[in-house]
Structure formats: C-alpha cells, structure tokens
Symmetry: C2
Subunit: 346 residues, 2 copies
C-alpha cells in the first residue's frame, strides 16, 4: 500500500518530470521539495510506487518517470487545478471580445486556448443532438442554380449550391420554401433527415415540374443536415506538435492524422467522462484505441444551459495537467458566458 507521503512523492515526481523532462531521482526530490526525510526513505517510497506501477525506471540506476497510471492518479487525486493569472484572464477576454457569429466565437476561442497553452486546441461545435432546424432558405442564383441554406437554433449554418436546371418565379419558390420549412423547422436534425427520406419516398411523382425540383432541393437539404450530424471541430495550434516532437517517442504522424480526419478526435472527446466540474482527462494508453497512445487530451464542457459541447487540448502525455485543466475550464466558462449573453437577446 502506498502511504500518504508516497503520494506526495508521486506528485513531486510528476511535477519535476513535467518540468525538466529528466527522470527524477531520490536526491533531486529531497533537494527540490522539503520532505524532511532522507533520500533513502524516499527511495523506499519509490520502490512502493514502482510496485504499484505508478512510476517506472527507464533503466537500472536512473531516476523514475510516471507511468500513465501514475499520471491518472496525479490528475484524479493530487492535482489542484491552478487558477489563471490575471494576465491570462485579460488575454482570454481580449481574444473573445465582440463576436456574435458562432463560427467567429469558436474560432477565436480555439486561438485563445492554443495561445494560452502552447498545445493543440480543440473546440467542438454545439452538439447536433440537441440542435433543431430553425430556418430553411432558398436563394436563386440564376442559370438553374439554387443556394440551399439550413440554420439550426444552435447558430450553425450550412449551405450548399444545388443544380435544379430551371428558373422559378416567386410563387413556386415560396411554395418550395414553405414545403421544406413545414417539413423541417422545429424538428431535430435527426428527425429532419428521416422526414426528408419519407417525403422523398411518398412524392415520387416526377410529372409536376416543381415537384421534381423540390426533390432535388430536399436532397441538398439532406446533405446540409448530414453536415450538422457530424459534430465538427475547430482546431488550432497543430504546428505546436512539431515543437514538442521529442515528447512523443514515435512519430507525430498519428496525431496529425487525427487532427486532419477529425472524426477520431470527435469520438475520443465524446467518450470521455467528465467529473462534476465538467473536466475530463484521457491519458496516454487510455487513448490507444484511437491510435493516440502517446498523447493526452483534457477537456472541459461548456454551455451547460442547452446544447453543450467541449473544448479541449491535445498534447503529449507529459503535459502540465494543472495548468491545462485550468485553461480549458477558464476558456469554457468564457465561452459559456458569451453564448448565454447571446441567449438573452434571442
């Protein structure tokens, strides 16, 4: 069993290792931390910690480094989330000043977060699960092209140019618009897709010209909805991976791959379980199933009122968890507040 002091030793090891990138030995610990006991005693504790697989020695007669399990214990029991400095707070709020547009708000958020932490920052769009269609709009572009726009009540906009091969007068256009609107507005994205499908199956009579066109447009709308369905991410700071490359034993290829594909990250962030403060961390091997065994992700939920989602950071397993958890928490709070202010005007 690991003693109370043993856990303190673990904390010291994690802190020093994150700090110096060097395996930390018993001597270093008594030097840098005021334990009031001798190096030999620390050594005994370290042997215990090693038995519990919380730390490991890269080779005989070298200092110890935390295992993934060790980081986990550190994050769960030992790390107090470090509050941000005033300077950091003002930095965030200066980043997030002013935007109304959801796209704008999220892209600023992600930049603030990467700038604050030097890690790869990730912001999820508000979950499609709770998004309802609030508007469907058709804009005729000429030459038989139609711009099809769908808006959800979470503020997401998706648009698509569709080729209907025909021109329409205001009456027809209004009809099609009304038809699609009654079909979708107020419905969830999932429902909407389903209703379009059944609608297409029912109205399979291509004789009336606008009916054929409506079918084409319905398909375009379905594609728009499909886009909402895949929870999209906004990312920033991927270049930072190159800086921290030595922190990843292998290549950073799988990380860049995950960043580019996004879907892996969406699933990973979706499966993480947040604590009572909305914070979550997934460490090293815990991400093995996603091909990211050498990386960690910390997230914080935002927008607790309605269709929430997460902001997160992706970085090496050896990251500064207290600081990064604080950063995602702070940014998530700012973002929540910003979206709530918006809500009052809705």
């Amino acid at each position: 069993m690991v003693s109370e002091r043993g856990l303190e030793v673990l904390r010291a090891i994690v802190q020093d290792y994150v700090d110096t990138r060097e395996p930390v030995g018993s001597k270093t610990i008594v030097d840098r931390h005021a334990f009031g006991v001798s190096a030999a005693t620390i050594r005994n504790d370290m042997a215990l910690l090693e038995d519990e697989e919380l730390i490991v020695a890269p080779h005989t007669s070298s200092g110890r480094i935390p295992t993934d399990k060790g980081y986990r214990v550190f994050v769960d029991h030992l790390a107090e989330v470090r509050p941000l400095t005033p300077a950091q707070r003002t930095a965030i709020s200066s980043f997030l000043e002013g935007p109304v547009d959801l796209d704008d708000a999220l892209s600023r958020t992600v930049r603030a977060l990467t700038q604050l932490t030097g890690q790869v920052a990730i912001v999820q769009y508000p979950s499609f699960e709770r998004a309802n269609v609030s508007h469907v709009e058709l804009v005729q572009l000429g030459s038989g092209r139609m711009l099809v726009i769908v808006v959800t009540d979470t503020g997401r906009v998706s648009q698509r140019v569709s080729n209907v091969q025909d021109e329409f007068d205001e009456t027809d256009l209004g009809r099609m618009r009304a038809e699609l609107s009654t079909l979708l507005v107020g419905r969830s994205v999932r429902d909407g897709l389903h209703r379009i499908e059944t609608h297409l199956a029912l109205h399979d009579d291509p004789t009336k010209p606008w009916d054929a066109a409506t079918r084409v447009l319905a398909r375009a709308v379905a594609e728009d909805l499909e886009e909402f369905r895949q929870d999209r991410l906004v990312l920033a700071g991927s270049a930072n991976l190159a800086k921290r490359e030595s922190d990843f034993r292998g290549s950073i290829y799988p990380l860049l791959e995950a960043i580019e594909q996004q879907v892996t990250l969406v699933r990973l962030m979706g499966e993480m379980v947040a604590d009572e403060h909305g914070l979550a961390a997934s460490i090293g091997r815990e991400n093995e199933a996603f091909g990211l065994a050498e990386a960690s992700v910390v997230t914080s939920d935002y927008d607790a009122t309605g269709a929430g989602a997460r902001v997160g950071l992706l970085g090496p397993t050896r990251m500064d968890y207290p600081t990064n958890l604080a950063a995602v928490r702070a940014v998530a709070r700012y973002l929540t507040r910003m979206l709530e202010e918006d809500d009052t005007s809705r």
Copy 2:
C-alpha cells in the same frame, strides 16, 4: 562549362538521390545508368558540376547530392513531365465524380491530389481578383438576428450572422436587400468594399430605424467580402510531413505553421511564375523569404477560361518533380474541365 553528358550525369544524380536518399557516387552512376564510360570520367564531370554549384559533397569522400540550383536546372531542362498511369487517371476521376458545389469540388480535388502524391496538397479558391458579387441575401433568424449571405459569380459563398437587435417586416427587409443589392451586385469584391465604405460615410443619420439596421448589415456584408478578399486555400495531407520528416533537416514546424496560417502559402503561390503550360516550381532556398527554405512547391494553373487559380503540392526539396508536376497538371485539367462543364449550365 558543363558538357552534354555532364547534364545527363546531373539528371542521374537527381534521380538516384530522390530515389535512394543517399549521396550518389561515381561508381553508383556507372552501375545504374548505361553511360558507357568509366567511373573516372564521371568523376571529372562531377567535378565540373560541382564548380557550377549544381551538386555538392556533404563531406570529403562522399557521394554528391544536388544543390537547389541543381534541382532548378533539372526541373527546367532535364525533367520530362511523366504522364500518369491509367490507374492514376481513373483514381482521379473517381474522386471527382459528381459534385456541383464549388466547396465540394475543391475539397475532393485536394484529397485526390494528396492521395496521388503522398505530399501536402493545396488548392486555391478561384481568385477574388476576378470575382464579382452576384447575390446578396438577408435571412431573418428571429430574436434580432440576421443571416447575411454574399455569393460571387465564381461560386463562392460567404455567410455571417449579424445582430441587428430588431425585427423587420417584408417591406423593410426587401428595401434593405434591394439597397445592398443595387450597391454591390455586378461589382467586383474590391469595388464592393469601397462602395460600402463610402455608403457608410454618407448615410450617417441614425434616426431612421432601418437605416441604422442597414448600416449594421452593410458592415456584416463588408466582413463577408473581406473573407473573399483573402484568397483561401483548401489543404490536405499535412500528416504526410511527419512521414517525410527526415527529408527536412530542421524541424517541420515552419511548414505546419505555414499550413495553419495559409497566408504565407497564398503569397508564395501567388508569386510563382508559371511556364507556358501553367506549371511552376519553387525550390528550396527560393522559398527562404517565406521561411520554407527546405521545402519545394509545385503548382499548376487551372480554369484558364475565367477566374483561375492554382493547385499545388508542398513537399521536401528532394521530391519527385516529374511525377508531382504530372500530378498537379492532370488534376488541374480535371478540375478545369469540371468547372467548364459547370459553366455551360450557367
């Protein structure tokens, strides 16, 4: 002066070096290429090439590698663009089947290109320089929010949610829409921005309610136009950089940075000078001003009919130029054809 055979030797060195990643010596050349002369003769040629700074020896008694200047001569005089295999052609066309939407077309193109070459693929949006505003649309979202949409005749769509703090009836809405449309439709993006500015300066009377709203909307439209102004890129395959990391002496950080910022790449691609076939290459140190001294970019112009732009590849200086040039050329042609087919329906 470098002899005819000397240039052949240069070609052999470039080819072998790209192939093997090893400095190539005189012996290797006579083995792998049928020059019909002895190694000593090749050595004499190589000494000449070294005098011309076309090749260089990493250290005494090692083989030679091409200098950037050497690659330049190779690309300009020695590389015949290698035609694609039928398999590659079908791969491209299967990638590019069907899309009408410009966004769709470009994102498929970029994926085709990265899949084909294993490099970072870049596609520029059709140049804003020749883009004219074709539509301005206002969609009321409720709660004082307005979706402002601007479309250009090159097919680009930009949208933005603006907060007008008010509801409007159809008449007012039509008035504002008409006002903005007459101001912008048919004008270039640059003109449009200018006209909005002067318009804002003239109508500075905040007493009439819709006039205040129009001003807010005009600002939103201006932001939309601003977005067109920055020639945006579509990118894919940045993870490939990690695979080829050893090809870059230093870090891949500046490359990832350029990819994330985009603006560097836009300028770089803008400054490249294409040959009579629309192909261009920028090699190694030639990119020093952009912080990419160890990278090369090859591009091909597309859409020669109207608002053209470029598709390109970003990779290590030591890349397979013949194949990559062939790839960008082929993909550019497909893309041009696709957009032209589209034009006929306009």
